[in-house]
Amino acid sequence: MIQLTSDLAELEIALRCHLEYARLADTHTQRSSLEDNWEVVKGREQILARWVAQGRKEAAITADLGEMLAFTVSEGEHRWPGHRWVTREHGRILRETVIEDRGVEREAQAEHPPLGELRAGKGQLPASDTAILPAGFPEAARPLANRLHCAWNGRAFDLFSADWLTSIVTANSADW
């Protein structure tokens, strides 16, 4: 377990382990949204209801990058990893993205057929060496994005070497 250094890490433990749900009134805006693998929950009240429904769990922070956490959650014999990213507005959490691999099946509230393609307008052209990234994308993260683009969109799976994975984790956790 690592030392809790960020507000977000401390909040994660407070909510998961100590049921300190009243803190949400100060940590989130009333129009906060939470997106996970399946849905977007909009509104602080809805996020609160979701926490209440989850109940007490054991949790430990495994990486704390300030606005992004990696953690593990335990319930009895069951243990799963997760990540949480947040975007703030005047210090309060406006958006959260949570990825948890609980290993249990869930059903989406509404399902629609997929629309469109992933490589818009590329047709038969091969993936280029550089990813198409939104304005404002951090310069320091571009090499990593390009590498992932080549590996996934270009199917250059050989790029996923153990050395490379180790190097990006150590390099980027130091840079960011």
Binding site: T29, Q30, R31, V40, V41, K42, G43, E45, Q46, A49, E89, H90, R92, Q109, A110, H112, P114, L115, G116, E117, L118, R119, A120, G121, I132, L133, P134, A135, G136
Partner: protein
């Protein structure tokens, strides 16, 4: 003139605290309202959350027309009755204002486009069916023309198909039942809908759009007009890549969520693949500056023949009409987020031969 604070950056307690003296000229508006954003947010809270339905009489014009995809509602009495019905079905409804996109009009009037995400428990019978006890969330956008403390005209769009799905109903089944009732009552195609479809179908044709798309920050209205004309009327779907951020998030009817150029292009492809002769008119645009960019509201109408099965089942050859509002968050010259709302249950009801 003082800056008009919007929803962003303020918690609800701060938004609903007394705002002090007027920040902008508002002739005839109640003294309790300091600006148009305050008026919209505060009167929504008072009427819907504090249940002061009587205030509708002082906040809506007696002869108001509320435009919806199931037809216009005329008169303040209809607004009060409709509000009471919705609150009976969802008594604990809370309405979280996500943004108020507004502009000043002539003679102290204002136009506002207010996006609300509601959370509510279905405890009473609703227009969708008997009570389910389910807690749901849905998005509404209300475009309002406000003059002298009253909403003089409103265009109301709600994501009814998302509501239906969350309550456990099939939108198609609901629509078929409603359409059967329309036909049993001997109602042909409603006059208002025929007029609305004809207005869109007969709208002036524009030259083939060449050149670049206008800058959304410099001229949001020109951007919106050009985008919808180019993409829908001229089928130049490649303009999606010129107009959206590659990592754009899109939310649409039925609580659909799309991401990036390919899926957003897929939406427009499917829309035109459902209504092969579709034409669109942009009926209103408004924009406000926000942190790092602009929020743009676009109200649009689409008319076309349901001759393809891309989105709404086997072709019925029915002419259909869509009234929609789109909210864009534009950053760095591109659309980064979109919320589009229209009533798909009403659309399916048309396709099933109703309305």
């Amino acid at each position: 003139m003082a800056a008009i604070p919007n929803v962003g950056g303020r918690d609800i307690a701060e938004i609903l605290a007394p705002q002090g003296s007027r920040r902008q000229p508002m002739p005839g508006f109640g003294e309790e309202y300091s600006d148009i954003v305050d008026y919209i947010l505060r009167c929504t809270h008072r009427i819907w959350e504090q249940k002061d339905l009587g205030l509708i009489a002082t906040h809506y014009a007696p002869d108001i027309r509320v435009h919806t995809m199931t037809g216009p509602v005329d008169g303040v009495g209809g607004v009060i009755a409709g509000t009471a019905r919705t609150l009976s079905a969802f008594p604990d409804r809370t309405l979280t204002g996500e943004v108020v996109i507004w502009s000043a009009q002539s003679e102290g009037a204002y136009f506002s486009s207010h996006r609300i995400t509601s959370a509510a428990t279905n405890l009473g019978p609703s227009e969708l069916g008997p009570p389910t006890g389910k807690r749901i969330s849905f998005t509404t956008i209300a475009d309002c023309l406000c003059r002298e403390n009253r909403i003089a005209e409103e265009w109301l769009v709600r994501d009814y198909s998302a509501m239906a799905l969350a309550l456990g109903y099939r939108p198609r089944t609901l629509a078929a039942t409603q359409a059967a009732a329309d036909r049993a009552a001997g109602k042909g195609r409603a006059k208002w809908r025929v007029e609305a479809m004809n207005r869109v179908a007969d709208s002036a044709r524009t030259p083939f759009p060449g050149g670049s798309i206008p800058d959304p920050h410099r001229d949001p209205s020109a951007f919106a007009l050009d985008f919808f004309d180019r993409v829908v009327n001229h089928r130049r779907l490649a303009a999606v890549r010129d107009s959206y951020c590659p990592a754009a998030h899109w939310t649409g009817p039925g609580a659909r969520r799309l991401f990036g150029w390919g899926e957003i292009t897929g939406w427009f492809t499917a829309l035109i693949g459902s209504f092969g002769d579709a034409r669109i008119t942009v009926d209103s645009t408004t924009a406000v500056e926000g942190p790092g960019g602009h929020d743009i509201a676009v109200r649009w109408s689409l008319a076309g023949t349901h001759d393809g099965s891309a989105l709404y089942g086997a072709p019925s050859q029915e002419r259909a009409y869509i009234l929609a509002v789109t909210h864009w968050r534009v950053l760095g010259g591109r659309i980064a987020e979109e919320t589009t709302v229209f009533d798909e249950v009403a659309l399916l009801r048309q396709i099933e031969g109703g309305l």
